[in-house]
Amino acid sequence: MSLPPLIAVVGNPNAGKSALFNALTGARQKVGNYPGVTVERHVGKMALPSGRAIELIDLPGAYGLDPTSPDEAVTRDVLLGKQQGERLPDALLVVVDASNLDNHLRFTLQLIELGLPMVVALNMVDLATRDGLELDAAKLEADLGVPVIETVAVRKRGIDALLGQLDKMLLAPRELRPGAGPSHDGFTLQRRARDIALGAIVRETPTRRLTHRLDGLLLHPVAGPLILAAILFVMFQAVFAWSAPPADALEGVTIATGNAIGNALAPGLFRSLIIDGVFAGVGAVIVFLPQIMILFLFILVLESTGYMVRAAFIMDRLMSHAGLSGRAFIPLLSSFACAVPGIMATRTIDDPKDRLTTILVAPLMTCSARLPVYTLIIGAFIPARSVLPGVGVQGLVMFGLYIAGVVGALVVALVLRRTVVKGGGGAFMMELPKYQMPRLTDIVLGLWQRAMIFLKRAGGIILVTTIILWAFASFPQAGPGQKQSDVSIAGHIADGIHVVVAPIGFNKDISLALLPAMAAREVAVAAIATVYSIDAGDETNLQPLEQKLAGRWSLATALAFLAWFVFAPQCISTIAVTRRETNGWKWPIFMVSYLFVLAYIAAGATYWTAVAFGLG
C-alpha cells in the first residue's frame, strides 16, 4: 500500500499556521520529535472532500530557507527532502498573514522557487479588515502564479475552498514547474515581495490599531511591569492553590489502587515491587500533573494572546545582566513551582545557547517540592521569634533560602555564559504579534499534548529509576535482628555517601535520606521520619518529628542541610526532562555535577561557619 500524499503546512511565525493545522486535523494529530533535535513534529491525518486520505505536517514557523534557529533548519530540511525521518512533501499549503504580506511573501516566493505544487492560504483576512486593509486575492494569485484562498483559520472560514483546491492539485497530473532553486538573493526577493504586496492592496484606511493601543498600556514603562507582576501573582496563586485538591485526589486514587492491588497479592517481594516500587514511583510523578497543567494553561493562554512576547520584552533588560534574554523569564519563573514544566517551557527560547543556560539554572529556583524540607528543618531549629511586628525569624530564613536560589541562578548563568555555554546570544529579536483572542480548542489540544509528553517521556524514566531504587532498598534482605536499612545496597551506599558528606556535618541518617530524595525531594522528610521511627521505641513514636530532630541534630548540621537543599538534590524528574530536552546525557550529567559541587561547598561553608560560632 502506498503512503497517503504528504502535505506540509508551512509559513512564517505568527501567520496562524498552527490554528489552521488544528482547524484541519482537530484531535487527529500526533506530536513527536524530529530525530536528534528538540523540535516538535506535529502530524495529522484527514480526508479531502473527494475521500482521498492525506497526511498533514505542521512545519515549524520560519522566515525563510536560510535558517537562524534549529526550528527553521528542520523546516528547510523537510522542504528540501533532506530531513531524517521525513519524506519530501507532495504539496505545500503556505500560510500567510493577510495584514503582513510585504514580509510573509518573501518566504512564499522562496517556496514557489522550490517547484512543489502549492496553494496559498491568505489567512486572518478578518484582522486585516479590522486594521483597515482591503486586499485583492485574485490579483495576488495572478502575480504569484499559484492559487490563493482567503481564510480565517480560527473561524474555519475558507477551509472548504482550501480542501477543494488541495483535491484538485493532487488529482491533476503532477505538473512539474521548473524548480529554479534559490536563484535570488534575499534583498531581491524582499523587494519583489513588497511590490507584489503593494499591488494586492485595494484600499488602506489608516486606523489606530487595537494592538498599538493595547501595547500603549501593557508596555507602558510604569503600568507594564505592574500589570506583569499582577498577572504573575495570580498565576502563582493558581499553581499553588488550585493544584492542591486535584494533586491530593490523584495521590489518593493512586494509593487506593495500589492498596487494592496490594491486598489482592500475597505478601512478598512481588507485592513490595508493585506497591513500593511501581505505585510509589507512578504516584510521585502524577502528583505533579495538576501543577503542570495549571502552569501550562497560563503559559498557553499568555502565549496565544501574544502577551508572552510582551512579558519577555519587559524583562529582557534585567535578564541581560545575567547573560540571558527576556525569553528565559517565564521558564525560570515556572521553575519556582516545579523545574520540570519550567524546563519544558524553555522550548519557546529560540537561541539554543540561551535555552541551554536557562535549562541548566532552572533547578536553582526553589521548587515547591523543597518546601516540606525547608518547613520541617526551620520548624525544628529556628526559633519562632519576631524581629519586627509581623516579621518572624522563621519567615526570614525561608525568604533567605529563596533569595539564595535566585542569586545562585543568576551567578551560575553568568559564569556558564562565559565558559561552557559561550557564544551566541546577546540578541533579543522578536516579532511582537497582534493581540488575539485565544481559542479554546487550541488551548485544550496544547494542554493535552503537554500532559502526554510529560507522562510518557518523564514517566518512563521515573518508573525505571524508582524500581531500581526500590531494589537497592530491598536487597539483600535483612536477617533476624538486622535492620533492612543497614544490610541493603541502599544502606551500603549510604555508608559510602556518609564518608563523603561527613566533613560538611551530615550524619548517617541524612546520608540515607539523600538517596530517596533523588526520586522526589520531599521524600527526604519521609525517609528521615522512617529512620527515626525504626530506631526509636514505640513510646517515642508519638513525639513529633521536629522534636526528635531538634534533639539529635546540631544547629550547624541543620543549617548545612538547608544550604545543601538550596542547590542540590536533583530529583529524577528534573534529570529525566533535562535529558529529554537536551537530547542526551551530557548536559544532565553536567548539571547534576555542578549542582552537587555547589551544594557541597554551600553546606560545608555553612557548617564550618556555624561551628566556628559555637553552634556545632
Binding site: 525563510g64 520584552f313 533588560r317 511582537l432
Partner: protein
C-alpha cells in the same frame, strides 16, 4: 531634508526611512534575523515603545510588522527622519 541619525536615537512615534544598515557590525545570525524582519534600505520604521528598564529593548514598527530589538542592534540602522 532632515539629518540622518541612527534608529536608537529616534524618538517614539517619529517616522523615518532606513538609509543604510551596517550589516558588518552585526553577527551573521543577527543580521539575517533583521533581514527576515524586513529591515532594508528605503523601508519605513517607527519606534513605538521602549523597555521599562534602561529604555531597552525597543519595539519598532518596520513595514507592517512590529519587532523588538535591543538598542545595540538599533544603533547599526541609519535612518532619515521624515518631516513631521
Amino acid at each position: 531634508m532632515t539629518e540622518a541619525t541612527s534608529l536608537d536615537q529616534l524618538k517614539i512615534g517619529h517616522r523615518a526611512r532606513i538609509a543604510a544598515i551596517d550589516w558588518a557590525s552585526l553577527g551573521d545570525s543577527d543580521a539575517s534575523r533583521l533581514r527576515h524582519f524586513g529591515f532594508d534600505e528605503g523601508v519605513a520604521v517607527e519606534p513605538l515603545h521602549l523597555g521599562p528598564f534602561g529604555a531597552d529593548p525597543l519595539a519598532v514598527r518596520v513595514g507592517r510588522m512590529t519587532v523588538a530589538i535591543r538598542r545595540a542592534h538599533a544603533r547599526a540602522v541609519q535612518v532619515i527622519p521624515e518631516a513631521a
